[in-house]
Amino acid sequence: MAILVVAAHDGKTVRANVANAVTAAGQMGPDVTVLVAGSNCADAAKSAAALQGVAKVLQAEDAAYANWLAEDIAPLVVKLAPNYSHIVMAADSVGKNVAPRVAALLDVGQVSEAIQVVSPDTFVRPIYAGNAMATVQTADKIKVVTIRPTNFKAAAGGGSAPIEQIGGDGAKGLSSYVGAELSKSERPELTSAKIVVSGGRGLASGENFKLLETLADKLGAGLGASRAAVDAGYVPNDYQVGQTGKVVAPDLYIAIGISGAIQHLAGMKDSKTIVAINKDEEAPIFQVADYGIVGDLFQIVPELTAAVEKK
């Protein structure tokens, strides 16, 4: 049976994590279709068609789909669902919002944040903030699965799948989009950055995050934060790494002034190399760090920034 990947996009290209979802979908079955729904989303559909492993792209043009309101998108996915064995979405804020609505309308369960496809009906997923791994099997006829992008390689580009136009069904009138307050940043996106520099309560103020920005810019890194730093208002919510925020797995994760609560570790412990800078040598972050420095971050971070510069 065929697999349907539901792709979020910005109108021009599908999100980077769609390439990871396509890889995950390919492990569930050989015939992968990508749904690109939106308003003026022809370019996004083309970017999906270019992913290796995609057999077909469905482009659903409708103004109602422009802002990814679950009330309008879910019925479209449900209408297409009988042709597929699996509905797959990346477990980002779009997938988490839309997929359960689709699953309930289909009267099926959902597998959330799969990190491994064991077989077409069996998946591994983290529970308890990643402190346990559950292997779950679903008997539902249509399997709704969200996948954790960092656990699947991104599908390569260079493909040219056919794009089929399908209509939209308009707005249901339950909800409307007002606007967004998006963080503007030239830095790499947190979940796909090769290096992430992350700050916690130890930074003591939002102003002090400038120190981390300078280091991040030297390294070409994305900028993250612990829940404590976000709750304290140092940085916006979309910086949060952890159980209920973003999950990252970069080559290098530098945790600065972060104690390392299990909820934070859940979001970064799959990073290849972890560096911890903290003045408390008992901080739990050191238990997962490959390299740790005990000391004052306000002294160490500028030193590190200068040292990184001198190649």
């Binding site: 009330e71 804020s93 359960p100 309308l105 369960g109 967004a180 005990v294």
Partner: protein, 249 residues
Amino acid sequence: MKVLVAVKRVIDYNVKIRVKADNTGVETANVKMSMNPFDEIAVEEAIRMKEKGAATEIIAFSAGPAQCQETIRTALAMGADRGVLVQTDAELQPLAVAKLLKAVVEKEQPGLVIVGKQAIDDDSNQTGQMLAALLGWSQGTFANKLNVADGTAEVKREVDGGLENIKIKLPAVITTDLRLNEPRYASLPNIMKAKKKPIETLAPEALGVDITPRLKTLKVEEPPKRKAGIKVKTVAELVDKLRNEAGVI
């Protein structure tokens, strides 16, 4: 307007969980249990609505074993008016909970349902969205700010790129994110008062809901452990290790 909040009894967020030796699940015997932290935020939001006059009555719902009474009592001590417990010792998955909630919603006719965006035990993040789907209601997920007036709810949502504002028709389901509010602690007099508030107990069968799990857990295992690495003394040493040992910069 009645507001219904759902509260789940979970292992306390401070407890370091242990996987059972036979790999069937996580050890819950003799472990401290609490209300799911996101559900505390849901209860708090409902109470604030009542304090502002936007809500008339708050019903706290839970589903699970008899001990969920305690979780409902906590909500009552915070300020909810009465409780509904769907009591069962069977395993409950999000779709089943959403169906139980739907049955209670149809009975109670609240104008708004507020639930936590996810429970910190199974980390599913599904129940609110599923309930909205089953009821044909709108959904305001991952709420950072909620304003209810004139049959609509303005919801500021926490999304990948920052914040997003939507306007949804009531009745609706809201799921709470961390920054929506800071839940209060129940005061001693309110804890005493809560003991007198009514809790209705129902059986899933009485609601006509099939709660059969859809996912079968084959095994639960410890995650691969990360080994603690080394402590370095100087920044120069760190940069050297990152460049020449780890090869990441």
